[in-house]
Structures are given as structure tokens and as C-alpha cells.
Subunit: 327 residues, 2 copies
Amino acid sequence: MGQEFIKTLLQRNFPMNSIRLLAAEHGTGKKIIIRHEEVEVKEATPDSFDGVDIAFLTMGSEMSKYLVPFVLRAGGLAIDNSAAFRLEADVPLVVPEVNVQDIKRHKGIISTPNCITIQLATALYPLHRVNPITRITVATYQSVSGNGSAAIEELTTQAKQVLEGQTTFPHLYPHQIAFNVLPEIDVFLDDGYTKEEWKIVKETRKVMHADNLAISATCVRVPVFTGHSAAVQVEFTHPMLVDDAERLLAQAPGVKILDDSTISLYPHPWAVTGSDEVFIGRLRRDISHPNGLALWLVVDNLRKGAALNAVQVAEETIKRGWLRPGR
Amino acid sequence: MGQEFIKTLLQRNFPMNSIRLLAAEHGTGKKIIIRHEEVEVKEATPDSFDGVDIAFLTMGSEMSKYLVPFVLRAGGLAIDNSAAFRLEADVPLVVPEVNVQDIKRHKGIISTPNCITIQLATALYPLHRVNPITRITVATYQSVSGNGSAAIEELTTQAKQVLEGQTTFPHLYPHQIAFNVLPEIDVFLDDGYTKEEWKIVKETRKVMHADNLAISATCVRVPVFTGHSAAVQVEFTHPMLVDDAERLLAQAPGVKILDDSTISLYPHPWAVTGSDEVFIGRLRRDISHPNGLALWLVVDNLRKGAALNAVQVAEETIKRGWLRPGR
């Protein structure tokens, strides 16, 4: 994930005088070439952020909770990719295509949503604006790369073992992930939902400013390296014609429609890895609801699903002169 | 699939004086040991069915359309696993746990539904009986084995190629299936749905005798060898408590609940392959609808999803004395 951030910053020519790479103790020491200069990954400590304007955090909730206060103390802006602050009232949760104005009221922390929320909000907000959405149901097909390199290794190792007729041993995931699907992402809560499923509910409401939006999700891990897909059904206040939805989405920022059934054209993870957009396909009437629409979304979970969205937040913050906390 | 039928017939001690194995021209010649006797696979011809009481057909719609008239001419009962006759008014479409009484009115043909319909109907009918279902939305995670041995080979070959860094070439599927997911099963229709998705709508209505049931589906192929999963959301006429649903399903035939989030217990394809039941997990309130329930289903698509259901239909037909056509 850290590498995806570096790649994104460089590809987009992000304005930087200097860059520091920080990791938890076990990730330090590595040297990475950035613009012909060798930069060593150092340990993140309370003193790491002196003189930093923007800190991108993508080390998980615990590390964000620990480090963000030091970013604030040093007068920097923390753009946090973890769930640590996403639902706090005075922390904007931002998908630039949807609620860029929320950045303005930041107090030093801006959070970015989980990857499924990013793709739902980016794809659905252009429709919600003209015909308010009342309910979303979603089933996900989430790749392993969101869990880091250990997860990619686990899928790779297990896949080889299965193909060679060997026994597999789950480590990171509770059961075999190779040639299997697991309806468990993040921890289970008492109501039978997982934390990941509740994140989608609460974060999508916050990003879209739609407190009463009904949402339910089933989050499923699939044996795919990169690219999160989602089968989505949406209910609107009024009927939504497929043609109208297509027209609105064709003009919307950050999305791309790939939808021609006559040539089996629709987004799938293998094809969209490395791309920036939220891809939309299988756009059709939901035949089970008078105001319903069904669609299929795929996003590169490391790019727009994480690094790209955070970098876009930083770009907008700079461009609009909102770097210093608002009141 | 043929082998799954033989295995199921033998395991269940199906009453047989003799068995004939028939295939299209290209599948003939193979010899299979059945109860210590060698049986050769012969070519299916118009004369293949003389003296046959029950013919199980699982060679696809075209072959069923061609061969079933000869089964009828010979006075036999055709139990057809294909889509050829499923929606014809005088052909019962049967999941024994749901609508065994429909067998009685057969005129020589009984159809069995597609595998997703079998698992939906088996799992949901016990709830529908006490609290009529008004709407079902489903997203599927379907394995490749329903497409036969060529599909298993395609997934195996492509997975090896990806792991070795080689380029893959799709044959059976329109895009790479290894480490990927494809929202396309069966052909696309003009309305943007696939035929597979419409089968689920129409067949589930017919099996459950629920002509007005609203259903919509997104069918997705996943890189799994055997076992079809489904994320399902159900709306009832009245609220359905999770405890009540669990109690009803615990007593229902053909289903098994695997649901304990504290130990990551839920069905997943790798674990249920080779089992007879429709497995139910992730049973929870649908937080997006007042009368809603959400659940996760997994079935071995070759067994209850196909061969077992057909053999169960035959067993019930014999047991109830309904072998000869009703009027």
C-alpha cells in the first residue's frame, strides 16, 4: 500500500519539496528510489512529523490513533486511510467527486473511506443528486491485496498447493482462500454483521450526506489479487430509467462505463487493475422493484480504493487553499 | 456430471435392475465399473430407451429436446436436468423438499431446476410457508464445475499460468477466470439480464408456486472448482425474526445451518463439496428493510444442485407410485 502511494504521488506529479517514508519498526531500513534519489524508510516516531505539511497514513487504525496526534502537534494535515477517525463528527470523510466541500471544515484530520464506500459513493452520487436514493443492497467480491503482501502470498501459496494436490494451511484468513470464497471481512459484531459491512453503511451515509439512507451489505473475500467488485441494487425515490442513469454516469467524474453485453464487455478485476476510475457495467432495471436499478462495480482497491483517493483529497486541499484547519 | 449421477445412484442404493450409460457420439466407448460389472458408455440414439423406466438426462437443452421424445415413445419417465422443458405448463419442475406433490401430474417429463433455484427454494420455502416472501434479491458466486470438465481444466491451466507469470488465453469463458470474477453466466438478453438470471426468477416462482414473487439476481462466475454460493436478501409480508427463521430452518428438510460467528463458522465452497445439504450461514436481520432477512447459502452444485435433486425426484416418484403419467 505504501508503494501504491509513492507511485500515485509520482505519477500525478504531486507538488513535493521532500518526502519522508515512515513505517512501523519491522518495515524500516528499506531504500526506495524516488526521483533519482534514494530515500530510506525510517521508523515512525513522535518526532517524525516536524515540518511536514501533509502526512498520508495507511498503517491501520491502531497506528493512526497513535501517530495522528503527533502530526497535529507538528502543525501538519493528516490524511488518514484507516477507520480510526472516519466517523468522528469533526473529521471530514471525503471522496472528492462527491463531497469535496467537506474538506474545508477539517481540523487537521481528513479521513478517506473504505474502498467499497469509495466505489459506491463515486458511482451512485451522480444519480442520488437528481433522484434521491432510498436504499442500497450490495454483495461484494473483494480481493486479497487490501490485506497487504502477506495476503497475496497466502493466496499464491495456497493456490500452488491446491494445484499440486497438497494440503493447505490457513494463516491470515480463517479458512482456505484459494479456489474458495469467504463471507467474512473484518471482525463479526453481535448482530451478525461484520465491521466491514457496517463501515459501508455508516461511511456511505456520511460521504453522501444521507443519514437516513437504508443500506445493507454482504462482504465476501474472493481469490482475486487486486480489484474489488460489487453487485449493487439501488432503490430511488422515483423511477430511474436505465438510459437516464447511463447519461448521468457518462458525464460524472471518476467513473467509466464499460457495458456492451453483445461483446461481453463489463468490468472485471483482472482488466481494471492499475486504472484510476470506478468502473460500471451490467447497468439494468432492477426487475424486482418499480424504482430499482441494478449495476456491477469494479475498482482497483489499491488506487481509487485507497491511495488515489487520498492523494486526490490532498490535491483538492492544496488547490482550494484549505491546507490550514478551518473553523 | 454423468459420473456424479452414477455415484449418487449407487450411494443411495437406488433400486435398479440394470443401468445404461449414454452419451453423445464424442463421449462413447468409455467403460465404467458399476457394482463389479463393466458398463460401456454407448451412443444415445432414438432406440436407446426401449424398456427403460427412468431416464436421467443431463446433456444440455439441445440433447434433451432431441432425446426426450424417444424416452416418451418407449414409455419411460424422463427426469431432465436441462432447461429444455422447465417452464412448460404440463411439466412439473421439482425440488422434492418444496413441491413433491407436483410430480403427480407429470406426463412423462419431470424437470429439475438450475442449481441456484434449488438452493434458494430449499432454503427459503420453509420460511415462505409461514410468512410469504414478497421479494428476493440475490448475488451469486458460482463455481466452474457446472460447465463440465473443460471448465475445470481452463481454471486449472490459467491458474498455473498466472502463478508462473505467463499469459493466459480464455477459451470457454469470455475472459480469464483464474484469479478473477466474471458477471456473465449463460447468454445475455436484450434487457441486460443473462438467461441464468432469468432462470432464477422464473424457476423459483414456479417451484415455490409464487407467481408474483419479485426476484432479481446478479450471477457471477468465481474461480472456485465446486460449490455455488449466494448472498441473499429476502423481504417478507410480515417482520421475520432471526430466531424464528433459525427455528424454522433447523426443522426443515434438506438444509443445514452452519452459523457461529465467534468461531468463523459459516458455509464456504471448499468445506461443503461432497455434501448433500443446502448450507445456510450469516443469518441476520436485513438492516435496510423492516421485514427483511439476509443470509448466505452454499450448495455442492453437482450434488443437491443437480444429480442428487434428480435422483430424489426419482425416489419420490417410485415411493409414491407415480411412475406412470398422471392425468
